[in-house]
């Protein structure tokens, strides 16, 4: 007998229920937007140069380009679910790129890749130590680490410059098989599956949401919050390193600015995907769509000859508009 259970009123509420369905499952709306953007780009491209955009090649290219961004956004998603943010994903990816190309000749491809992953994991671990144990604000910690990493990489890049990118990395980063399927999907898809399933069906996934929602309650329930945070940041670093490996494969050389253009888009992809920056709700599925949308958008803007400046202004406005949309539909009060 509990007094005061809220009652559902009828027709206006059914509309609101639909709205809520959309906000609880943003994937539907996002898929629409993705497809719509593709169509728009197609129209514009035909108008501009007579060529179509809605072709299998272009779709495959979009996925190819989106993979590194989506991997950077993967770590970002996990971190943002816990209520933090990781602004070091780009520099960690760059570090991964440099280690891969710098040690491949001497150590062999396998070892080089392992080193890159290890380094990424390690950088993430340092972030995690700062955030979880020293309670440093994630913004500061990750920004600081990124600046330190960049400085260290600059020194490293000046000392040795063996730009050898192993063939397999090249293939992974830039080639396709069966004519249309990018190899980097072989890397991205399993990771995406792991994350999506892990978030939903593993105890760790539950803890990620819980820590983002109410870390105090977690502690009282016996959760050692620092453990969760540590692992989340470390994973973010590892995923960023993978992104870096793909990027160096695509670029065929490591470069200090190789991942820089992806930092803010990685946050944007997560925001677009519907994960709350305050933590506690969201998921990777939306982020994937966010990454795809951003990639198509970039193509569209390039076709329109939009200046770098205009692209930036647009990015900003889009992030804002979408975030506003989510805020409206989800909070409800």
């Amino acid at each position: 007998m509990s007094a005061g259970s809220p009652q559902i009123a009828s027709p206006a509420a059914r509309l609101r229920a639909a709205q809520r369905l959309l906000s609880d499952n943003p994937a539907i709306a996002l898929t629409f937007i993705f497809i719509a953007l593709f169509v728009v780009t197609d129209i514009v491209n035909r108008a501009q140069s007579g060529k179509a955009f809605l072709t299998p090649t272009q779709v495959s290219t979009t996925f190819l380009y989106a993979a590194p961004l989506a991997l950077l956004a993967a770590g970002q998603t996990l971190v943002m679910l816990t209520g933090g943010v990781d602004l070091s994903v780009a520099t960690t990816a760059t570090a991964g790129a440099f280690i891969t190309s710098g040690t491949a000749q001497a150590q062999g491809t396998g070892t080089a890749l392992l080193l890159a992953l290890g380094l990424g994991f390690g950088i993430g671990l340092v972030n995690g130590i700062g955030v979880a144990i020293f309670r440093v604000n994630p913004l500061i910690m990750t920004l600081g680490i990124s600046s330190v990493t960049l400085g260290a990489l600059t020194i490293y890049s000046q000392k040795r410059f063996v730009a050898l990118v192993p063939n397999i990395v090249n293939t992974l980063g830039s080639s396709r098989f069966l004519k249309y399927v990018p190899y980097d999907l072989l890397v991205w898809a399993p990771i995406a599956a792991l994350i999506i399933l892990g978030l939903r069906y593993s105890g760790f996934g539950r803890m990620i949401f819980a820590v983002g929602d109410n870390p105090v309650a977690c502690r009282l329930a016996g959760v050692r919050v620092w453990q969760v945070l540590l692992l989340v940041y470390a994973l973010s670093g590892a995923f960023s390193a993978v992104a870096g490996i793909l990027l160096v494969g695509f670029n065929d050389a490591a470069d200090l600015g190789i991942a820089a253009p992806f930092l803010l888009p990685s946050v944007a992809a997560v925001v677009i995907g519907g994960t709350s920056i305050l933590g506690g709700s969201g998921g990777y599925g939306g982020t994937i769509l966010g990454a795809l949308i951003l990639t198509v958008l970039d193509s569209l803007l390039t076709i329109l000859n939009a200046s770098q400046a205009l692209k930036q202004i647009l990015y900003g406005s889009i992030i804002l508009a979408l975030a506003w949309l989510y805020a409206r539909t989800s909070s409800g009060d």
Partner: protein, 332 residues
């Protein structure tokens, strides 16, 4: 009649000295650090000369940026677009001032200050109206301002009348008083000091400390938040103008440096990221500390990149220590 034990107001903070130490200890600490660094700097032979205005020159924009960020953080928010707004003001001023006389340049500068305050107010309004978290909005505005800056000036260029440059790089009355420093202190005295203890300032601190309690106390929360960002925008404008004065040109990407470092300087200066705590005096000193560390390293012949690594590491370490200090506090 029952009574409860030990409830009649016993001031918990202990004697006044203890309380004073608790409240201002950090700021004093930063100034002591600055002093130590200055003394150390003076001992390095490479730089002999008058109170090297160079330091003030390098640190000036950062000091203003730190003030801008601090105001916003104290009010419970954060502003990732600080750097871009600074770039924008820098670029606009350099592009047009190159053709102006000193007086017009000053007027133009004042106009730009109004503009940057308006820009800040715009950001604040977006945050309030859309209810989107400030990180996301200011991140978006970072893109927007940076894009605008790029549109206005694609490559570094422009300039300003000589007297204007003097404002940033010259002296006032004596070799030992850089004019930039004077302007910094004037800005502090005009734009912050009168507010800080009056109702607008209290309102600012209150929404950072506990927004709900502030609302229930009758504070106009939306208004105050917008005001915080507007004031931050104003200081960003000063930063951009001082950047033009000290560097002599406009550079669309120059502002990037200031976003992270303004937050770092604020935190180093005793402003807690949770809001409601701190002042502007600490971050000003912290800005000089941050700049000084890099200067010292370079003067000692350290490679610029190593200098950046060391500076970054130091910032992290200090902030980690600060994090431990926060855990001692009763709240959080």
């Amino acid at each position: 009649m029952t009574s409860s034990a030990a409830l009649e107001a016993r001031p918990r903070g202990g004697p006044s000295a203890g309380r004073l130490a608790r409240r201002h200890g950090w700021t004093v600490g930063v100034y002591v650090l600055l002093l130590l660094l200055l003394l150390y700097w003076q001992t390095i032979p490479a730089h002999w000369g008058s109170f090297d205005v160079q330091l003030a020159i390098d640190a000036l924009p950062l000091a203003f940026a730190a003030m801008a960020q601090s105001v916003v953080i104290i009010s419970g928010g954060i502003d990732l677009s600080v750097g871009s707004l600074i770039s924008l003001v820098n670029v606009v001023s350099a592009k047009y001032m190159i053709d102006m006389g000193f007086r017009n340049a000053l007027l133009f500068g004042a106009l730009l200050l109004l503009g940057s305050a308006a820009a800040g107010a715009f950001t604040g309004s977006l945050i309030v109206l859309t209810r989107v978290p400030d990180i996301v909005v200011t991140l978006a505005m970072l893109f927007v301002w940076a894009g605008l800056a790029l549109e206005i000036l694609q490559i570094p260029g422009g300039g300003a009348p000589a007297q204007y440059l003097q404002l940033g790089t010259g002296h006032w009355w004596s070799q030992w008083i850089p004019s930039g420093l004077v302007i910094l202190l004037l800005a502090y005295a005009i734009f912050w000091l009168p507010l800080r203890w009056a109702r607008p300032g209290l309102a600012l601190y209150s929404i950072g400390s506990n927004r709900n309690a502030a609302y229930l106390s009758g504070v106009g929360v939306a208004r105050t938040r917008i005001f915080a960002y507007a004031l931050g925008g104003l200081f960003c404008g000063l930063a951009g103008l001082s950047l033009s004065a000290t560097s002599g040109i406009g550079d669309p990407s120059a502002g990037q440096y200031y976003t992270l470092n303004s937050v770092a300087a604020a935190v180093l200066g005793g402003v807690l990221l949770i809001g409601g705590v701190g002042g502007l005096i600490g971050p000003i000193a912290a800005a000089f500390v941050v700049t000084l560390v890099k200067t010292i390293l370079i003067l000692k012949g350290v490679d610029q990149n190593w200098a950046q690594v060391i500076q970054g590491t130091l910032i992290i370490v200090v902030v980690m220590i600060g994090g431990l200090a926060i855990r001692q506090r009763r709240r959080t």
